[in-house]
Symmetry: C2
Subunit: 342 residues, 2 copies
Amino acid sequence: MTQNRQRVTIAVDAMGGDYAPHEIVKGSIQATRDIGGEKIEIVLVGVENEIHKEMAKYDTTGLPIRVENADEVIRDGESPVLALRQKNNASILQAMQLVKEGEVDAVVSMGSTGTVLVSAIQVLGTLAGIKRPSVGAILNGLAPNTVIFDLGTNVDCKPRDLLNFATIGCIVARKIMHIEKPSVAILSNGAEEGKGNKLAKDTYSLFKGNSFNFIGNVEGNDIPTGKANVIVCDGFVGNVLVKYSEGLGDVLIGKVGKYLEGKLSQEQVDNICSNLYAMTHVADMNGGGMIYGVDGLVWIGHGRSKASQLVESIQQVKHAVNANVAQEIKIELGRLQNQNNT
Amino acid sequence: MTQNRQRVTIAVDAMGGDYAPHEIVKGSIQATRDIGGEKIEIVLVGVENEIHKEMAKYDTTGLPIRVENADEVIRDGESPVLALRQKNNASILQAMQLVKEGEVDAVVSMGSTGTVLVSAIQVLGTLAGIKRPSVGAILNGLAPNTVIFDLGTNVDCKPRDLLNFATIGCIVARKIMHIEKPSVAILSNGAEEGKGNKLAKDTYSLFKGNSFNFIGNVEGNDIPTGKANVIVCDGFVGNVLVKYSEGLGDVLIGKVGKYLEGKLSQEQVDNICSNLYAMTHVADMNGGGMIYGVDGLVWIGHGRSKASQLVESIQQVKHAVNANVAQEIKIELGRLQNQNNT
């Protein structure tokens, strides 16, 4: 697959994020320099004159960057649905449109999650059997061979939703994490079959008939040890878990940092605190995440991303494009839907 | 209330726990010495000659300890329901019977959670509106002014169950934690009203009409900071959360301990690791917990408890008896049930 691709083209929403457009333009320029112009091309989507003003600060001669004008901007705090209805020429909508028309391979935005999600659904559409796109995370910094779905976009899930998460998770594990035969588990409140709430129990029955490597239930304490490669749960649980972890991490870092002050060098204290951060801020360590379940590749980065995080995000997206992740997910979900209908 | 009580009498299941009966007998003797015989009396329930053999190792002259024979023992790993049906004279059943007959004020057992729960339901019965007793935890070591319900005995909850948890939680916060007007929150995946899964949203509506100090939703990251005194959630979520926290703590302690080795004194390393333990093993820090929702005061301690943990448990139970917790919960749940029926 990789061999067939000449160059990955990525649309970057120049107007999305706390530091847009300056850090977004800066990061895009940096990415084309770092990755190399023969491998990547970037389309900056947004208010043309603002982007050009930023670009003028750098020497961009020969860099594979072009600008697509989109003269409306959706600000933080606007209602996504309302804003997208009123602003047809918003940068995020135009960027999605480029994916839909096959002009680019993927979109990267540091805009608000709600706006990116809604515009992806609106322009690209959801895949077979998907009600809402899903956000998952590879637990880098804690259990790097584990990905957990869903982290909050889907609540009140049915077993069929968890089957979608498992399907997507397996492709992510194979294609991105390079795990040949990923193990899949259901997060539950007991390890044995028959333990769990209604959703976990019904999902257990459904998973038993499937072809992936289902290893049963895992409990909360099995997450940090990476007992399974793909862990599925209702997005309500995933969201509470990830946020609890972050809050706990912040409290721990504060207390440990204070305790160690004066006992170790500042560098050593910083080192230990950033380790604690990495292990507790599980969803944060990727600088953002892909939304899965729409017909195209879309990356939502953290709003507070600066140039270097954008470069990191672009690299991850390029990797996903080369690995053909979006196409594989579309095929697999289509196959599931057909099985379901017959 | 406290003035009215002459002496608190507690039945201790002498046969329950990994170190029964020797550590249980030892701890009971120690508790009467520590607390003082005018304030406490202990009834050791179990196989008489085994208990007396253990007691003979100590000078128990004048100590307020008596023995009630119960010649059957339920071993770890037995099915609670089956074992309790076959062993009518099991120590845990006899101990519950003493509560029911008003001969003692409370039961303490280090036996298996399942067995203690089932025997409490069987002998004491559940209170008005309660389907299954609830287990909660005061987050000592992390957020000591916060109690969280339910931690796993109730899954697939209805809003009414969460109302019971809130009611019980408020009494625990007032009577045990001495918080005059405890704040109550629903654990959700968003702070605003209207955010949440179906259970959280429906519970929000139900709580708005109630007289307690309802402050709305809290998110996972608000737990470690103690944003509310009483946090309610489905037991599935509570269980996953508490176990995740423990697993995460173990991983963190391992990594931090290793990193600090040789950089700090062993005492300093141990100190920091036990702090990390206390902050992540949130349910563990109380040495066990009360089961709420049965008609009587019942404490389940950790199976691995030794004499000193038993003393600690007995002290907490004595405190709960003096504070009239069981009686208050019975009255409040009865009142709720009446409101519900009218």
